[in-house]
Symmetry: C2
């Protein structure tokens, strides 16, 4: 069957699905009915979701769960989490509960600067380029007026523009490096529009004033925001007296604190561990990032690059004891938005925002950082006490039971039985055969 | 209103929703009906999706789109993509089309080793620990027999175990560092179960044979897989004669190739650019990772850590000209699974897998790497030719129009009008007022 096609994007949704079902599936009717079973019965709502991206066939369900009891800077939040991985919501809820009675989480925004660059080549005298830039800097900034007016009124806009000579890295390579504030927007469209206007003005000025540059040739390579935002930072922290730091029966606060600190120290010194340590943090971060209509690839890239900023990939969180008080904290970059993008388009994003009390972007930064710290705390707590598998295996058991189409009653007795038996696909299969009610 | 709650996880779904609506929403009935409007009408199917995670309230829709015409190692694929960001599916489709007529994509798996570690402290003579380890290595490995038998039959299992002395990093810190192969499973449960068994055997042996260790105390901190997998690698590449490398009218292949190479070189040397360059790659990677039921946080962490492995965060892709042929390639770690986890549980994951011809894990690694390279190529092509905003603004316009509840007819004339006018929320608002059909 020929799987190539011309003009696919111009077909209607039904035509697209027909072609795909006919050419890619053994049972085309079944393939079509599975897609259709995920459509919303309200065609207006479905149409809205179809238009988010191109060539949409149906809605991919991701579970939306919630973790209640998060005390953050004194207020209580129920946090929405969109994630396919089991145990993450449970771990967040447990961490929230643990800290609720120990003063809760604290969080503060350290800065909100975003970055964009115009990358270009210039084959002339760099001192002439510098004076040319100084002379025309204002005009370059004014080239963004059409986009900037609204943003300025909201307290944002271009904060600085500098010319960087990077010709030691690549022959003739220079860049305009800009800082932006984007108020409650993530700001990608705003920043990219500003940069493209500035680049186009830069080319125009270089053409007009080529004598100022002694005829040196200026060539723009590209203009684009950076997802590396080490000056768009938030800190989340918890603390409690060691005497109250008891994870479960059989532990002293002192022993637990020492183990937690050892685990964090290992993540500071050993990249193999740091990557997974931070992955656990991102389980919490991304779940709320997705739930609030933000772009998790942008957040992931910025966070992991920040984790490697000192030349070796390391832990984003820290833990220590000071005056008999256990402290744990997380500092990370989060370039988020609460307006624009999906925020007003996706009804469940709006629902999640209302659940959070319609926070502004700074408040959302704090909530999301706390979700990351909570996840980190919960993962380490499991790792240094019972091991990570105890919690995981319960959900794993449920998944296997569902896969084997166990009845509700079978599930119930299986949960009892496997409290004291090792979970494996084989063992569950054998158990169900014996208990085929 | 008190937003704290005890025993939330034990409530039924309806009780959870009732409590949330009453305590967090101005209009509780509306809040409840929005959640309900996203439930599947088939309660059995809905129940299946509810059980993926804890405290599930409803299904968060992510659009499932497809990008056809991907030629990979000679075969044609239509690639499923789950992503909320507009332009990604369109860019993938364009890149697929471009390369389909230029030999297509090539991809190969370089290795599939995964990593797990037992982190422990030992306060005695390290040479005694080493001889203790060598003497008991076999017994440690055999402690995993209960889990390993099945995996070995499928060609996986423990590949190596070494004792690393890391006491120069942290006093008394040692680790067992293991390599695994996990066949077609991502293997997190398998690896963690093996590690916990080995750790428990290690403690037991150290207790039994404490005289061999001269009474040195051995204390396990934690046992866990690593998401840093620099030996689980795949390479994707494209190539074509420069004379055929024409992106659009007005360009020569030579000029386009030079610009593309400059753009990649900048991403190699400048971390601010590298982060966004790789973020673009991950737009393609994650969309297929999610569509095939894999864990995008694990993939993100592994990939970005790999991008910083040489001490400075850098581009994952490379571009060059050799013998008048343009080459572009991407090498990255992808620890994926095609069995276990969500793969058999989520009906749309199964649908997406069938769309791809039910690939094994190595084939899926290749497909996903190609999706990343395609995205990278498309993003750079836009950046160095028309700029990234031209494509984005069209989708941005659609989003604004939807937000303002424009009719289909208004949308149609707006698309015509804004071909030659700057898109902004204000401009679209004014346009709709004038054209209120």
């Amino acid at each position: 069957m020929d799987k190539r096609i011309e003009g696919f994007s111009k077909l209607t949704k039904a035509e697209k699905i027909n072609w795909i079902a006919q050419t890619h599936f053994k049972n085309p009717d079944k393939a079509k009915s599975i897609l259709a079973s995920y459509w919303n019965v309200n065609s207006e709502l479905q149409n809205k979701h179809d238009e988010f991206i191109e060539n949409t066939l149906t809605n991919f369900y991701m579970p939306l769960g919630v973790a209640p009891n998060f005390k953050i800077n004194g207020a209580i939040y129920t946090i929405p989490m969109v994630i396919e991985e089991s145990s993450v919501v449970a771990a967040a809820s447990n961490a929230a509960k643990f800290w609720q009675s120990r003063g809760g989480f604290k969080a503060e925004v350290l800065d909100t600067l975003k970055v964009g660059q115009v990358h270009f080549l210039f084959n002339g005298d760099s001192s002439l380029l510098h004076s040319f830039f100084e002379k025309n800097k204002q005009e370059l900034i004014e080239a963004t007026n059409a986009f900037s007016k609204n943003m300025k009124r909201r307290g944002g806009g271009i904060q600085s523009i500098t010319l960087n000579d990077k010709s030691s890295l690549i022959p003739n390579y220079f860049q305009l490096h800009l800082h932006f504030k984007t108020a409650d927007a993530m700001g990608a469209n705003f920043i990219n529009s500003c940069l493209e206007s500035i680049a186009s003005k830069l080319k125009e000025l270089a053409r007009q004033k080529h004598k100022d540059l002694n005829e040196g040739k200026l060539e723009v390579v590209m203009s684009i925001l950076s997802n590396y935002v080490p000056e768009c930072l938030v800190r989340a922290s918890v603390q409690c007296p060691i005497t109250e730091f008891i994870p479960e029966k059989g532990w002293t606060g002192e022993a637990f604190a020492q183990k937690m600190i050892q685990a964090v120290e290992i993540a500071h010194k050993e990249p193999y561990r740091a990557v997974t340590h931070n992955k656990g943090i991102m389980n919490g971060i991304d779940a709320v990032v997705v739930a609030t209509g933000n772009d998790f690839r942008a957040i992931e890239a910025g966070v992991h690059a920040y984790a490697s900023k000192n030349g070796s990939y390391t832990s984003l969180s820290n833990a220590f004891i000071k005056n008999d008080v256990f402290h744990m904290e997380l500092v990370l970059p989060l370039a988020l938005g609460t307006v624009g993008g999906l925020t007003k388009l996706h009804p469940l994003v709006q629902w999640n925002m209302e659940l959070l009390g319609n926070p502004d972007t700074k408040t959302l930064m704090k909530i999301i950082a706390v979700a990351g710290l909570a996840q980190n705390f919960a993962a380490l707590k499991s790792l240094v006490t019972s091991g990570i598998q105890r919690g995981h295996m319960k959900m794993h058991l449920l998944n296997i039971l569902n896969q084997m189409e166990a009845s509700q009653n079978q599930k119930k007795i299986a949960f009892e039985y496997f409290k004291n038996h090792t979970v494996s696909v084989k063992a569950v299969g054998a158990f169900l055969k014996k208990n085929s009610l």
